[in-house]
């Protein structure tokens, strides 16, 4: 296993009773990369991530995370991996500062807890009991606990669910900072714009397999996809055409209309369109 591979998965399988949750999944995540895992609920995303985090045992396959088999997590390995879970863990009776300081104590090389609190934007809430935090603030606390040990690899499971748009942008900045400092990040999300904004590469899981991996702007040959040109005809109905050369088509239309083309739009498929086609919803 070369030094620049953070995660290597080959032929991963996991069944629950009769149902096959992960059916021979292969995955490589490079060090320093932000990798987004997309997939509908029940596609095997969370199962895969929890196997990588050392919470679930696999039935078959080869898995290395930071050169360790997560089925046998060591203490040192736990110290190098940060995890932000899907649900928020509450410590009702403790304050934000108390929880972050306590968790910092578990790591050999922890970050300064107060700086971490500042980084996730909770300084004003440092002395507040965790149960008084809003949903978004609790999520920030989750992130603080995920990064306080200065992880080399950070798992983020649907981190911005319940965030308002502004909090989401702030969170993205934080992730970009961490990535810029060299942290490898594995992100699962339902938000396609989030994957597009953050990820170097996107992997789509469907039916327990990784069906495609690519940079967000290349997923499903998006860059080669036909553009859709639509316009309003003189009798008022909408017409449209798919074209590999939309500029030529627009010029042609302009000539036909003798100037302005009424209701003209030129669109290419969004990441969401591509994704929905891939998982068979379109």
């Amino acid at each position: 296993m070369s030094d620049d591979v953070a995660i290597r998965v080959r032929g991963l399988r996991k069944t629950y009773g009769d149902s096959l949750a992960v059916a021979g999944l292969d995955l490589d995540v490079h060090r320093g990369e932000v990798f987004a895992l997309l997939g509908p609920n029940g596609a095997g995303k969370t199962t895969t991530v929890e196997i990588l985090e050392g919470y679930r045992q696999r039935d078959a396959g080869e898995v290395r995370v930071l050169d360790v088999d997560p089925a046998h997590p060591t203490r040192d390995w736990r110290g190098r991996v940060g995890i932000v879970f899907q649900g928020t863990g509450e410590f009702d009776e403790l304050s934000v500062a108390e929880v972050v300081h306590h968790f910092a104590g578990f790591y050999a090389d922890a970050d300064d807890p107060d700086k971490v609190i500042e980084r996730v934007g909770l300084t004003a809430k440092a002395r507040a009991r965790t149960h008084t935090l809003s949903g978004g603030q609790k999520r920030r606390l989750d992130v603080a606990l995920g990064i306080v040990g200065r992880p080399e690899l950070l798992f983020l499971d649907e981190p911005t669910t319940g965030f308002d748009p502004e909090a989401r942008r702030e969170f993205w900045e934080l992730i970009r900072d961490l990535a810029a400092a060299g942290t490898t990040i594995v992100l699962t999300t339902h938000y396609l714009d989030e994957a597009e904004a953050l990820a170097d590469r996107v992997g789509v899981i469907s039916g327990g397999r990784l069906i495609e991996v690519a940079a967000p702007n290349r997923l499903g040959n998006r860059q080669e996809a036909l553009a859709t040109v639509s316009w309003r005809t003189p009798d008022g109905t909408l017409d449209s055409a798919q074209s590999a050369t939309p500029t030529a088509l627009v010029a042609d239309l302009a000539a036909r209309f003798g100037g302005e083309v009424p209701g003209l739009t030129v669109t290419r498929p969004t990441l969401e369109d591509i994704y929905l086609t891939m998982i068979g919803h379109r």
Binding site: Y55, G89, F91
Partner: protein, 282 residues
């Protein structure tokens, strides 16, 4: 395959290793548990308040002698200390661990480099401290208000020590074990409270044990509480009272054996059934 190369994580120059040694970690965890306990009003009232209120009520109602020179208070305090020890350990853990598990607190601890035993040590420290405080409060109130006579011999105090320690150990292990029976946060109390209440009634806490129907005595003899009460009676009641016990004496050897067996049963159950995550987490 394209590899995104980014700078390696910066080597920390500033923060030296601050992680405490194993003992330090356990003490920190214990302190955190005690802090959480003290801030949770319902557990303080329920755990520490309940035995105190029961002593105040029962000792005020019943002021007669149950045997020559033995006041009801002298008898009742032994049952209440045993009950209190069971409350701080068995009930407290059996109710709170499912809540913490449901909130994802346990899962989060498992994601850190904290050694597993540290978490258990934290719980044990909390149980020991609250147990000692509760016993001291009960004794202080009973001596001040109800003329309780404290043991006068070293042997009696030693017996007090080992019976309490062994009883708390058995109840702690059983409390951790029974916490895995609760499927949700709310059901912990429903699982534990009836068990505790029934044991209190059949083990001679409120009523003189030998006045209970013999089948009830035999059922009670299968569980630890009866033996904790009996061991404590050896501490607080005259030797002559022991002649009236079912076995014709306080049977301290048998007390030790039964409590020891429950420690083993509890430990085996803990090791085989303890869950860090809820069932729906897999």
């Amino acid at each position: 395959m394209t590899t995104t190369t980014k700078p390696a994580p910066p080597v920390s120059a500033a923060a030296p290793a601050r992680r405490s040694g194993p003992t330090g970690l356990a003490l920190r965890q214990g302190r955190l548990e005690i802090r959480q306990f003290l801030r949770s009003r319902e557990s303080v009232v329920f755990t520490l308040g309940f035995p105190l209120i029961m002593v105040l009520i029962f000792a005020s109602i019943f002021d007669e002698e149950i045997a020559p020179g033995v006041s009801y208070t002298q008898y009742f305090i032994t049952g209440m200390i045993a009950t209190g020890l069971m409350t701080v350990s068995f009930q407290n853990l059996g109710i709170w661990i499912p809540i913490e598990r449901d909130r994802g607190v346990l899962k989060r601890y498992r994601g850190t480099p904290m050694p597993k035993w540290v978490w258990f040590a934290g719980k044990v420290i909390m149980v020991l401290v609250t147990g000692v405080v509760m016993t001291a409060l009960l004794l202080a109130v009973s001596v001040t208000l109800f003329d309780l006579e404290l043991p006068t011999t070293t042997t009696a105090w030693l017996t007090f020590g080992w019976v309490s320690a062994l009883g708390v150990t058995a109840c702690t292990l059983c409390g951790i074990a029974i916490s895995s029976l609760a499927r949700t946060a709310r059901s912990g109390s429903a699982v534990v409270t009836p068990v505790a209440l029934v044991l209190q009634f059949i083990s001679g806490v409120f009523f003189v044990f030998t006045n209970l129907p013999s089948w009830m005595q035999q059922v009670a003899a299968l569980f630890p509480l009866k033996w904790m009460c009996q061991g404590l009676r050896a501490v607080f009641l005259p030797e002559s009272f022991g002649a009236d016990e079912p076995g014709g004496s306080f049977e301290l050897t048998r007390v030790a054996v039964v409590l020891g067996v429950w420690c083993v049963i509890g430990l085996v159950l803990c090791l085989t059934t303890f869950r860090w995550t809820t069932r729906r987490d897999g």
